[in-house]
């Protein structure tokens, strides 16, 4: 059983290092995520892990605690709707709008093991006849190096590739390798992965036509959410589109965005963005 001091310590550590604003009701999450880490690192209990992180200057162990808590579930084409909007509304608009530069830049923030950026890459590869010779780059970032390593490898289990991935895409974009399934190298080349903490100043990462930042803001407190959303506004092109998670909202937060795509849309444009190209 995790001690109240350990709970307080880990919650503060997470808030400071990753912006993750959990409260004590998420004690079970600390236990389910940190008990395996304690065992793996040779500590008798989660409380011993707490003592070790608190009393030593072991930044690697500290990072492992943050990693264990921030690794989030993901799947190919998670929630489907954003990918349909991406394919049917946002990309057709960008094809007209970026006709001269023939360039599209996409950022998936908090991309975990890569299913989201690769889902976008698959949709774009399927539309390649409509955009021959276009320069398309997708950036996937996450705070956890371990998930980025898996994302770069592009190797997924049978369970992973059954979660949301249409079978025609499995046949077209994957090769079987023993018990696993490996993405083909053309698709992998469309996505670059980098480590990024959303709490840091990320204005250096460039400008994007589309940002996917889904199912991460829910873990932030209002102030952090406001800061991160403001910074995302700063790296989004004037006509750009921001996609949030199904249960996330910008209501009640001072932010530079307006909602687009109707009630089910859940995507946003910058306030004052130019109208879609017809």
């Amino acid at each position: 059983m995790i001690s109240p001091e350990a709970v307080q310590f880990f919650l503060m550590l997470l808030r400071k290092e990753s912006g993750l604003a959990l409260d004590e009701s998420k004690k079970y999450l600390l236990e389910t995520r940190l008990e395996p880490l304690a065992a793996q690192e040779g500590y008798a209990s989660i409380n011993d892990l707490y003592m070790a992180v608190r009393n030593t200057n072991n930044s690697l162990l500290r990072q492992e605690v943050v990693d264990a808590m921030t690794t989030n579930e993901t799947s190919f084409f998670r929630d489907r709707m954003p990918f349909d909007i991406f394919k049917n509304e946002v990309i057709p608009d960008l094809i007209k709008r970026n006709e001269r530069s023939r360039r599209i830049r996409i950022w998936c923030a908090a991309c975990s093991t890569g299913q989201e950026p690769y889902s976008l890459a698959m949709e774009l590869a399927s539309m390649s006849a409509k955009m021959p010779g276009w320069n398309i780059k997708i950036l996937g970032t996450d705070i956890t190096e371990a998930v980025l390593k898996k994302a770069r490898e592009g190797t997924y289990s049978q369970h992973d590739i059954q979660r949301g991935l249409p079978t025609p895409y499995l046949i077209r974009f994957f090769k079987q390798s023993g018990m696993n399934w490996v993405l083909n190298s053309d698709l992998k080349r469309m996505v670059e992965f980098k480590r990024l903490n959303l709490l840091s100043n990320f204005s250096w990462i460039g400008q994007f036509d589309i940002v996917f930042c889904r199912n991460i803001l829910i873990y932030f407190d209002v102030e952090t959410k406001k800061t991160v959303i403001g910074r995302i506004g700063g790296v989004l092109a004037p006509h750009g589109a921001l996609f949030l998670g199904g249960s996330e909202t910008l209501l009640g937060i001072d932010n530079p965005f307006v909602r687009a795509g109707g009630m089910k849309g859940k995507y946003y444009h910058l306030n004052g963005a130019p109208a879609p190209v017809r």
Partner: protein
């Protein structure tokens, strides 16, 4: 939606039927392809087949062939393979023969729901 679960394992039929029925669907069962054809004849409004590959009497591929031959008899239901066959060549073969989606066993409720979602089939509580 009326769904026919075709599998020679009673426990698979029970587990999958239970999941689908909780999603608000009406479930029919068959132990092999021949029985499935009889069920389809008796209930022409069955909209989806969850189809195993290896079964006695008439296997999944033979059923796909038989349904192809009898396609003039009415609209063909959507077909999702659900099988332990997990090689790419088998997946390609089944999709070429007319399957619309492919699930490899073992599967979870999430996999089942997401695969049906790909085909636009949602549970009644999902606002289908």
């Amino acid at each position: 939606m009326k769904i026919l679960v075709v599998d020679d394992s009673r426990s698979v039929r029970r587990i999958m039927g239970g999941m689908l029925s909780k999603m608000g669907h009406e479930i029919f069962e068959a132990e092999h392809g021949k029985e499935a054809l009889e069920q389809l004849k008796a209930h022409p409004d069955i909209g989806l087949l969850m189809l195993d590959w290896n079964m006695p009497v008439m296997n999944g591929m033979e059923l796909l062939e038989a349904m192809k031959k009898g396609r003039d008899e009415g609209p063909r239901p959507t077909i999702v393979m659900c099988t332990t066959e997990n090689e790419m060549s088998k997946i390609v073969h089944a999709m070429t023969k007319g399957a619309n989606e492919y699930i490899m066993k073992p599967f979870t409720k999430e996999i089942l729901e997401e695969k049906l979602g790909i085909l636009g089939i949602h549970g009644e509580d999902n606002g289908a």
